[in-house]
């Protein structure tokens, strides 16, 4: 599948934003959020900016972005529509929470808003994962692991950001570092399990099933067109596949191994802000690589008509 830059940026940036919103809301809900309203406001503002930049970026791959409002209408059947509805709905409690913190108003409502924000973040990221996981045409995506990976990667990147901001404000604490450590380790473990799962599955569908003919051999004689069409460019993308093994190692290194080392260093040394910053930067590179691979390694059933033997 063709990796659209706008979609890679959207899913990674918004994912990190929702992860940050989740941990921040959870910390407030449990009474563990240190500092005054400004700490909360600045952090939630960063989360909302990341989310908004991602959502705006996602409209860039649309042919008709001016009609994007219509995408909220089909939540009964479409995960993409559900994602849009959940994303917009999450703005309500998180925006109000930001407003309470900005004005410094103490309210009994902030824990409720925090709970709704955390739930909204989880639901939105789950919907993003389900957009891919619901597509039976792509065996590398049509897996229960996929929404889980979206959730855990979002949680890991959000936790690293949360740890960085708490350290910046001088409220670094052990529990935040441990949460980031565990989430990052879980992200790495899930990706290793994912790579093993897609490597072990050669695909259920064959070219003979696609044609209904040729169970003992199918050879392309004349293609239907002399140059690649939309279907081949969008669904038959394979540029990065030859580097897949190297990119997988790079993704695991930057997404999991390095952030874990940096987080341990942040917990054990006084330079926690520096190390959390390094962890965040490394995880960002790892996430982008992981998301690129998620697309580039995905094989579409329609390629059975264009020379693929299995999909």
């Amino acid at each position: 599948m063709h990796p659209a830059y706008s979609v890679i940026f959207f899913t990674t940036a918004s994912g990190a934003g929702y992860g940050l919103l989740f941990w921040l809301s959870l910390a407030h809900l449990l009474g563990l959020l240190p500092g005054d309203g400004w700490t909360g406001f600045t952090t939630i503002a960063v989360a909302l900016v990341l989310i908004t930049m991602g959502l705006l970026s996602s409209t860039l791959h649309l042919g008709r972005p001016e009609r994007a409002i219509r995408a909220f209408s089909q939540w009964r059947s479409s995960w993409l529509s559900r994602e849009g509805v959940a994303a917009v709905a999450t703005y309500v409690p998180s925006g109000l929470l930001a407003l309470f913190w900005l004005t410094g108003t103490e309210s009994i409502w902030t824990p409720v808003l925090a709970l709704l924000s955390a739930a909204g973040a989880v639901v939105t990221v789950y919907c993003t994962g389900m957009i891919y996981a619901s597509l039976r045409t792509i065996r590398q995506w049509n897996l229960p692991l996929v929404p889980l990976i979206y959730l855990v990667l979002s949680a890991a990147s959000g936790a690293l950001l949360f740890a960085l901001f708490m350290a910046l404000f001088g409220y670094g604490s052990v529990w935040i570092g441990v949460v980031a450590l565990l989430a990052t380790l879980a992200a790495g473990g899930l990706k290793i399990a994912y790579f093993a799962e897609i490597d072990g599955n050669p695909g259920r569908y064959t070219a003979a099933m696609a044609l209904g003919l040729g169970k003992d051999g199918i050879r392309q004689l004349d293609p239907p067109h002399t140059r690649p069409n939309f279907v081949m460019r969008e669904m038959g993308y394979s540029v990065a596949r030859k580097h897949a093994q190297k990119l997988r190692r790079l993704a695991l290194l930057c997404l999991c191994a390095l952030p874990v080392l940096f987080t341990v260093a942040a917990l054990l040394t006084p330079l926690s802000t520096t190390f959390y910053l390094l962890a965040v930067l490394s995880a960002a590179l790892g996430l982008v690589t992981e998301r690129w691979l998620f697309f580039a390694e995905a094989e579409h059933v329609s390629m059975l008509y264009y020379g693929a033997a299995r999909a």
Binding site: M1, H61, L62, G63, R64, P65, R67, A68, R70, A71, F72, S73, Q74, R76, S77, S78, W79, L80, S81, G84, I131, S134, L135, R136, T137, I138, R204, Y205, M209, A210, L211, G212, L213, G214, K215, D216, G217, I218, R219, Q220, L221, D222, P223, P224, H225, T226, R227, P228, N229, F230, V231, E234, M235, H300, V301, S302, M303, Y305, Y306
Partner: protein
Amino acid sequence: MTSLPNSTERKLGLVIDLDICVGCHACVTSCKEWNTGGYSAPLSDHDPYGADPSGAWLNRVHSFEVTDGDWSRTVHFPRSCLHCEEPACVTVCPTGASYKRVEDGIVLVNPDTCIGCKLCSWACPYGAREYDYDHGVMKKCTLCVDRIYNETIPEEDRIPACVRACPTGARAFGDLGDPDSDVSQSVEERGGFNLLEEFGYKPVNKYLPPRKPVEPLPQAAEEAPANTGSRLEKLFAWADRALSR
């Protein structure tokens, strides 16, 4: 609404006879000609006369060599939207632009509400939807919905353009929900089949398999003819020995 109808009153579709399709691409060009000038905006092409031509087409013809046991032959294979009974391209649509009609089962895209997110093309296992980069919306076979009910054109033209253009009669149009229709009868007689039946989207369009030869294919003789001892044979035998030295 992108939720699917429970059932449709008719199941209009195509039956494509792989036995007699000669791969002439008349259906492809006729489809393009009609649909670039009719329903919706033109089907845009990019660099059509240059080194890297591409464009939105709703019908494509592949040519394969297929082998089945010791039988093999060339099969020309037209591929377009199959107007599935349970199409995921419709249910994934976030805007409701993709829909399946209750009255005849035709799957359409509303070009005025499509946002061009391309998710429907990802959901289609048949690669039947093609994005129009100029129009910014998804394009697909409409089963010539603007011909089949069009009372302003002669009655014989009220069939899809691809069917009208086919010079060998390899394409037929009709109601596959009616067991007595000509198309349903031909599917019954010839063992018509679904593409990717295992996928479960229940295509309405059917394909008729190539006929297999009744008698074994003629084989070139492997053994030399028996020696009859004629002078001519002796001459050839001498020439063979002389040339072999």
